[in-house]
């Protein structure tokens, strides 16, 4: 089924390639580096930046585990510990997981749907710069000793001005508001790209699962993120301008914060995990040498999780003493949401059982994912049940649970994705041996770190404590977890070494090293700036395994899919992917960077209460936007105005 170059068609002539290169190539200048709008370069930057933030958050975790290795340790002060655990959570959720997966989405979605770029390339560049600046904005607070210290959940009234003076929580609220602009822009871009830029013939029943997952995730962002933004805006107003939303003495209500936070927060768990599940559905079948079993059920599962995740938030509030019946409704949804996940697990298992398995490093990480994610799923069901939840919530059992879900459910797939798509992204193969060492260290380290936390939680250890007394039965489990954290850290370091090694010394990668089925494997490694010399025509769910798609990019390819007149790509219809028309794509520009700098100025100004600076930043942003979107002058004939 992996097709050779001849089967795939010889493609268009060199003249076409030259014209496409002339249109799409970006100048290799410094200015070009800042002005790029190429989704592949932007995707790579997302990946690298998110990986760096992962490193920071990981070191925070190592510091915390060192402090908790034994009872009554004094390596970190309580103030430092609380900032570190708050930043660890906030960064892992907001600055690592979602941007990392958006990075893969950025690189892969246009390739997988057979387009030449995202729907809004300049918005894409803008999203990256905002993410970078927001991440630096938040991390800069750590050396300044002003990092968020209210936990990633920042419950009021602890986080109000009276109980936490200083910039800590202003960094948190403003940083997340700033970052939210990037995430929302990215989400809109993914949805529109997937709706309008799919290759002709790619009706919804032929869309790769990864793209379904990215789109579902983006819709969740659209509906969940504004609620977090509102919550943070209200907290900022309370802290800075003495409004009374959370002030119980003046009619405010502290549970409002929790409701709004978790209306965002629970969907966010799936915002993180969903693209990762999409990665698994992309990687696993390829190493089983067959298409994924029960594609319609997988799609159902993606859609169902995206929707139901909005109706389970109160299970984070089962101990707040609300009426039990109101828990019942959310307990019901939290229970049912496991069904779609179960369908996916068994679809993957069936794919493995029916296929012929080839064990390579990406597949190892997928297996690691299944083992850990299943365990996280069990404890997830337990937390859906109110009585059990009330006993174990806010204990280390929760910490164990969500690390199994998030490390197992997101980091393992991300690692699989790194090894799987590295040849495509960089054009280099990684070292299989280094990869295997890394896998085993990570798998063992991960379980050694987080499994004991189930036990210490059941033994009554509450979470978010900077130290604990000895002799309560918690000591050995904490020591084990700390040892595991170091093993895990070593494994992750080895991944970094492996990536650098591949980039420096790796063998050149073929176009399709794995025999993949989706369209990114139908182009060169790394892809040319225009992605595809001929936009393919899709006839089935597995276009690369389908000779008709190869034929469509062969010598007989029609001009309406080659499009060499300027930067062009295709619009197709939303549901059925029917050919609509060719459209112009924008050139590279510095405006996204300038607009992002404007926003950075706004948020720095707000943070330090320099409101004139903020206003100036706002003016810069608005002015740049006005120029960015300024319509080109048209002659009356071009615009269609009757003379």
């Amino acid at each position: 089924m992996p097709s050779s170059t001849t089967e795939r068609g010889a493609g268009p002539g060199t003249e076409v390639v030259e014209r496409l290169t002339a249109e799409w190539a970006e100048p290799p200048t410094l200015r070009g580096w800042f002005s790029t709008v190429d989704h592949k370069r932007i995707g790579r930057r997302y990946l690298v930046t998110a990986a760096v933030f992962f490193g920071f958050a990981g070191f925070s975790a190592l510091a915390m585990r060192t402090q908790l290795a034994g009872p009554e340790a004094e390596i970190l002060s309580p103030g430092e510990y609380n900032q570190l655990f708050s930043m660890h959570g906030t960064a892992m959720i907001f600055l690592f997981s979602t941007p990392m997966l958006f990075g893969f989405g950025n690189f892969l979605v246009p390739l997988m749907v057979g387009a030449r770029d995202m729907a809004f390339p300049r918005l894409n560049a803008f999203g990256y710069w905002v993410f970078l600046f927001a991440g630096l904005f938040m991390w800069a607070s750590v050396p300044a000793g002003a990092a968020p210290n209210g936990g990633w959940f920042a419950y009021v009234p602890l986080t109000d001005e009276r109980h936490t003076p200083g910039l800590h929580l202003d960094v948190y609220t403003l940083g997340l508001l700033f970052l939210g602009i990037s995430t929302s822009a990215g989400a809109i871009n993914f949805i529109v790209t997937s709706l309008k830029l799919r290759a002709p013939g790619m009706s919804l029943n032929r869309v790769p699962v990864f793209v379904w997952a990215i789109v579902a995730t983006s819709f969740m962002v659209i509906f969940a993120l504004p609620v977090l933004n509102l919550d943070n805006a209200l907290l900022f107003l309370d802290r800075r301008f003495d409004t009374r939303f959370f002030d119980t003495d003046r009619g405010g209500n502290v549970l409002l914060w929790q409701h709004l936070f978790w209306i965002f927060g629970h969907p966010d768990v799936y915002i993180i995990v969903m693209p990762a599940l999409g990665i698994v559905s992309a990687v696993l079948p390829v190493f089983c040498r067959r298409g994924i079993v029960a594609y319609p059920l997988i799609v159902l599962s993606v859609v169902a999780i995206a929707i139901i995740s909005f109706g389970v938030w109160v299970h984070h509030m089962f101990a707040t003493g609300l009426p039990q019946l109101s828990y019942g409704f959310f307990s019901a949804a939290s229970t049912i949401i496991t069904i779609p996940s179960g369908l996916q697990i068994f679809a993957w298992l069936a794919t493995m059982l029916l296929g012929r398995i080839v064990v390579r490093v990406p597949f190892l990480f997928v297996v690691g994912f299944i083992v850990t994610f299943v365990i996280g799923g069990f404890t997830g069901v337990m937390f859906a049940l109110t009585a059990f939840d009330q006993q174990t919530t806010d204990s280390y059992f929760v910490v164990a649970h969500f690390h199994y879900v998030l490390f197992g459910g997101a980091v393992f797939p991300i690692l699989a994705a790194i090894y799987y798509w590295l040849p495509k992204i960089s054009g280099r193969m990684y070292s299989e041996r280094l990869g295997r060492y890394a896998f085993w260290l990570i798998f063992v380290g991960m379980n050694l770190t987080f499994f004991p936390m189930h036990v210490s939680g059941l033994l009554g250890m509450p979470r978010r404590v900077y130290t604990y007394p000895g002799g309560l039965g918690w000591d050995p489990w904490n020591l084990l977890a700390t040892v595991g954290a170091y093993v895990l850290g070593l494994g992750l370091l080895l991944v970094a070494v492996g990536v650098v090694h591949a980039l420096r010394r790796g063998a050149p990668a073929p176009d399709d090293p794995w025999g993949g089925d989706s369209l990114e494997w139908a182009t060169s490694s790394p892809p040319k700036p225009y992605n595809f010399p001929v936009l393919p025509r899709v006839h089935s769910l597995h276009p690369v395994w389908d000779p008709r798609t190869a034929e469509s990019t062969g010598p007989g390819a029609t001009e309406d899919r080659i499009l060499t007149d300027g930067r062009q790509t295709l619009f197709t219809s939303e549901l059925d992917g029917r050919y609509e028309r060719a459209v112009r794509m924008p050139e590279e520009t510095l405006k996204p960077l300038v607009a992002a700098i404007g926003l950075l100025t706004v948020f720095v100004g707000l943070l330090f209460a320099w409101y004139w600076v903020a206003a100036a930043g706002g003016a810069l942003f608005a002015g740049t936007l006005a120029g960015w979107l300024w319509p080109a002058h048209r002659t009356p004939e071009e615009a269609g105005v009757p003379a």
Binding site: L204, N205, P296, I308, L322, P323, G328, G577
Partner: protein, 132 residues
């Protein structure tokens, strides 16, 4: 397409499919928001009735009406799923294949939504509204 429909009928058919896909989960959304907010807000304010109307009755309505909506959507999705089942050669008529997939997704979504509404109803039978 071999047969032609009036634009009105075609649009209506397209929208009907979306009802088949999303009708159930929309009903469940209404159920979850209504039942939870009625219960929490009334009880936290220290009442056990809603403007003279017994709380249990209000919650029962917030279970039964959405359940009816989910059942309706389930019916439409079953119909749509069967109507679009025509055996299609791979790469054949992509619209019908796509509609079949969406109807299938809707079928399951409606079932899951109905299950959640019913489980919520079970909770309402077991627990009295303001019990903590």
């Amino acid at each position: 397409m071999t047969e032609r429909l009036s634009p009105r009928a075609a649009t209506f058919g397209g929208l009907l499919l979306w009802f088949a896909v999303l009708g159930g989960v929309l009903s469940w959304t209404v159920h979850a928001l209504a039942a939870w907010s009625i219960d929490e807000l009334t009880c936290e304010a220290g009442h056990d009735e809603l403007a003279g109307f017994p709380l249990t009755g209000a919650i029962a309505l917030a279970v039964l009406l959405p359940a009816a909506g989910a059942v309706a959507a389930l019916g439409v999705s079953v119909l749509a799923w069967r109507r679009t089942r025509a055996d299609l050669p791979e790469g054949g008529e992509q619209s019908v294949g796509r509609a079949h997939l969406l109807a299938f997704v809707g079928l399951w979504l409606n079932t899951l939504a109905l299950a959640m509404i019913v489980l919520g109803g079970v909770a309402a039978l077991v627990l009295s509204p303001c019990q903590r």
